[in-house]
Symmetry: C2
Subunit: 142 residues, 2 copies
């Protein structure tokens, strides 16, 4: 199946018709060799740089939300004032570099299984995510 066909399938499964703008968004999101993290602002900038297509903010937000709902993207919980999104939809964890404001993936395999002994009656765990904040390691101990 060609890339273009994959995008169209992803869009269809998300309940969206494959329009020019949406396919362009797919190219940026799903054509990358590696998964990556992005903010909406960054995504718009990439689209503007790569294409002569103009895509409105509303279309970007709508499409991203449709993909999240369908499971093709993940939203990453950060205390920032803006949302971070992730094209890596496997279960994994994150470093958050507080100096660069950048997320770095941690494979599930790189963290021992997390066993939470506390239980909440009537509730079940749907997901467990670790966020490790990192900063520069300045060994200088003046």
């Amino acid at each position: 199946m060609s890339y273009a066909e994959q995008y169209i399938e992803k869009l269809r499964k998300s309940g969206l018709r494959p329009t020019k703008q949406r396919v362009k968004i797919c190219e940026v999101l799903f054509d990358a060799e590696k998964t990556f993290h992005f903010t909406i602002k960054e995504l718009v900038k990439i689209i503007e740089n790569q294409a002569n297509i103009k895509v409105s903010l509303a279309t970007v937000y709508n499409t991203v939300h449709a993909f999240i709902k369908r499971g093709y993207l993940k939203e990453i919980p950060l205390n920032a004032s803006q949302s971070y999104y992730d094209t890596n939809v496997t279960h994994h964890h994150h470093f958050f570099d507080e100096e660069d404001n950048k997320l770095i993936d941690i494979d599930q395999d790189d963290v021992d299984e997390i066993n939470i002994r506390k239980k909440i009656p009537g509730k079940k765990i749907r997901s467990v995510e670790v966020i490790a904040k990192i900063v520069s390691d300045n060994q200088s101990q003046k």
Copy 2:
């Protein structure tokens, strides 16, 4: 040391003068028998209900931020469009109830030590937090 004195000390250590408004904020935050989680909007509502003091949003934000900087409050990373704050400043983890939008503490002791095998050169880990999303456990498997 009386409560009032404790508040004044907390304020002074945060670099703030003990004004009527700030002491009131301290009463709400630090007088509770239990620690709790709150949004700014909720905090303002509590103050309005408890006191005949009117406190502006700007003062609430400034004071909360000063306490965070000094370590008397913590900000909790959630993907929501608003920040959650925590009067429990010990190292601990959270359940996030996606139905009630409520945070529930998990003591550090209730989670096995988290060992992250991946290392980032030149960076060190400053904090590790677990967020477990929970939902109702409907056993009904029609």
